[in-house]
């Protein structure tokens, strides 16, 4: 058997439908909403603010702290226990590492920028949606950053290289590789690269190439959303 047509009818290099909004949470210093297919992410940024406990402070530059959290009934299966778990702590960590290369917190020694990412609904690719939302929220909060970060999952379902896997494809019977990547579009560097499954080297390189191309599309939507918030209307 081979994977000729995608389960939801998309083309192999087609993303799910994306919606992005900036400034959705008034109390936060910066916030963003990113929806890709049925995966929805809210990111809020607080700070820079003073960091306690003191031993976490860095006197040379500010600290970035990310928190990934799935809401209790956000998955398609059982209730997810919210709060820190083995999985959510790992994703918080890789999100932080994915964003750190672009943000510049040199002006804020001993301070912290907190990023909270919440998922009311998920359907695979949540860490990528979270990173996309978080980078928009950071830009909204006026943090100095080199570029936005666009994240997407690529991979292999049976024989076919696909972009932006949904849950049905992730759990496809047969050989599946799910590779979430985050890209800095201006330099083409990867800041996140993880994988579930098996893939050979040629296909991996090809998949990463398509990821770069698709990231361009995502970052366009992110920029559009950011501009929408600040754009001068009716002046």
């Amino acid at each position: 058997m081979s994977y000729k047509k995608r389960i939801d009818g998309r083309k192999f290099d087609e993303l799910r439908k994306i919606e992005a909004k900036v400034g959705v949470i008034p109390n936060a210093d910066g916030s963003a909403y990113f929806k890709i297919g049925d995966t929805e992410a809210y990111a809020c940024v607080y700070g820079p603010k003073h960091l306690y406990p003191k031993f976490l402070q860095n006197p040379t530059k500010g600290v970035l702290r990310c928190n990934y959290n799935m809401m209790p009934f956000s998955g398609s299966g059982d209730r997810v226990r919210p709060g820190p778990s083995r999985r959510s702590k790992e994703i918080s960590l890789v999100t932080e590492k994915a964003l750190l290369p672009v943000v510049n917190l040199d002006d804020f020694p001993n301070a912290v920028v907190d990023v909270f990412i919440e998922f009311p609904q998920t359907d695979a690719g949540s860490r990528c949606a979270g990173i996309c939302a978080a980078s928009m929220a950071l830009a909204d909060a006026g943090i100095v950053m080199k570029d936005l970060v666009a994240a997407v999952s690529v991979g292999k379902v049976d024989d076919a290289l696909v972009v932006d896997l949904n849950y049905n494809e992730e759990s496809f019977e047969g050989e599946v590789a799910d590779i979430p990547v985050a890209v800095i579009p201006s330099t083409g560097e990867f800041t996140l690269l993880q994988m579930d499954g098996i893939i050979d080297k040629d296909r991996l390189l090809k998949a990463l190439d398509t990821a770069k191309k698709v990231a361009e599309k995502i970052v366009k939507i992110q920029r559009e959303a950011l501009k929408n918030k600040f754009e001068i209307k009716g002046a």
Partner: protein
């Protein structure tokens, strides 16, 4: 050498990572950086083009303490040697005894007699270190404890619009509402008058913050206040 090209126009909103210009004949300034041939944005803000110099006026972000700024702070703690003051930025500032008053304060005096926790003060930043330790002073014209009235918080990037050209905006609000208004550079604003006037002034200030990008803003706000009064 390849030719230079500008990709943006004056007053356009730009976001981090956007390529503003290519070629070596443009110069990166505040909020921008060079990467090879390109100049990219590193902040969200309004584009400013001054000849060959490209810079970004930020539209969001927290207040960064700057030496010489007159700000409104809130006393959050009283120590042996002075007061800790919240400056509406990432850092808490220090006001030491010797800078707190022109009167002599003896050692061991009860410092809450001067400023207690929760008091708002109009104060000036005398020094900011590389680690962003902030020193304050109360010695200077007009610097004082702010008694009664109310405090409004706005985005510190909007403060120039609230003050207006040579203070035109703030004096217009003062005159037409009859309130006493002090604007701190950190985005805290103190308003004092009769309760009704205070509410009107606060409404006007919030309107300025929301519509700061409109041209002819002073006229707009004046009209708003006039229609509201009637």
């Amino acid at each position: 050498m390849s030719e230079s090209k500008l990709n943006v126009s004056e007053k356009e909103i730009v976001v981090p990572g956007e390529i503003l210009a290519t070629g070596m004949s443009y110069l990166p300034s505040y909020g921008t950086y060079r990467q090879g041939q390109n100049i990219l944005a590193s902040r969200t803000g309004l584009m400013r083009i001054e000849g060959k110099v490209l810079k970004i006026i930020p539209v969001s972000g927290l207040y960064l303490p700057k030496r010489g700024d007159v700000i409104i702070g809130k006393v959050v703690d009283v120590n042996f040697s002075g007061w800790s003051v919240n400056t509406n930025s990432a850092y808490v500032a220090m006001l030491s005894i010797k800078d707190a008053s022109s009167d002599f304060i003896p050692k061991g005096a009860d410092l809450t007699r001067f400023f207690g926790i929760g008091d708002y003060i109009l104060t000036k930043i005398t020094n900011v270190t590389s680690q962003n330790l902030v020193d304050l002073t109360m010695k200077g014209p007009g610097l004082k404890k702010l008694v009664s009235g109310r405090i409004v918080k706005v985005n510190s990037n909007k403060v120039p619009r609230i003050i207006g050209k040579q203070g035109s905006m703030v004096s217009m609000i003062k005159n037409s509402t009859g309130c006493n208004i002090i604007v701190g550079q950190n985005g805290l604003i103190w308003v004092k008058g009769s309760p009704k006037d205070e509410i009107l002034a606060v409404k006007a200030i919030n309107k300025i913050e929301k519509e700061s990008h409109f041209s002819g803003l002073t006229e707009r706000i004046k009209k708003f206040i006039d229609t509201y009064k009637r």
